[in-house]
Symmetry: C2
Subunit: 145 residues, 2 copies
Amino acid sequence: MKYANREEFEKVDNFGVGAPNDAYAQYFQGNSFLKPLTEFGKCPVFLANVTFEPRCRNNWHIHHAKSGGGQLLICTAGEGWYQEEGKEAVSLTPGTVITIPAEVKHWHGAKADSWFSHIAVEVPGEECKNEWCEPVSDEDYNKLG
Amino acid sequence: MKYANREEFEKVDNFGVGAPNDAYAQYFQGNSFLKPLTEFGKCPVFLANVTFEPRCRNNWHIHHAKSGGGQLLICTAGEGWYQEEGKEAVSLTPGTVITIPAEVKHWHGAKADSWFSHIAVEVPGEECKNEWCEPVSDEDYNKLG
């Protein structure tokens, strides 16, 4: 279900909208928010709820790893998109789980007319490093939907 | 919110009720269901949605590991309980995330009057092995709530 209104969306986003995602803002178009769900360093798997305002999406990026690595997306509220390079975008709704393998170029974010949240699960691996690439152009983004 | 009725519960359990959890039935009181959310062996982190009928709970158990290990619970629908040995039981509602460290004896399950689902995240580690102990007695369980 789509939520254009932030207050209505927050009522169904059980994991909570966190603080402005300042550390990664340079790699996002629009405003995103980050709420850690595990204590950093206390657990080998880091979880955070990531919230995107309508139209917000991250740049194309790649999770590099020598072994393991990548990310899982657990979609919890609103509606969004996930796209791997060379493939059609996949619609994300609550209940969708996406396995993003290491070394695959991709992006994710909200739909144009809805707020969206997913829990991001950082998959442990060796020598994990993110490579941030170009933004998803308005031209490409506007074709979706 | 509590759901005594399975059909009503299934409408809000976005990740889906899976198949009867036969492999682990011997370690559970009551009926539970398991729906894998990642392909086994394709990702170093295994996720599954676990659903408990009202009163269903697993036995006291311990996730042993030489390093890493343990489990994360992401509560998605209905209401349940999580308890570590020697501590008060914690109420679980959608949005609750529990970090279960390795080597800590604990149990989890539904409340007496509600279906309950959580996503279980298996935290990778070395020499991971579960030790299943005694059931949670009706006497102890009935004190909760």
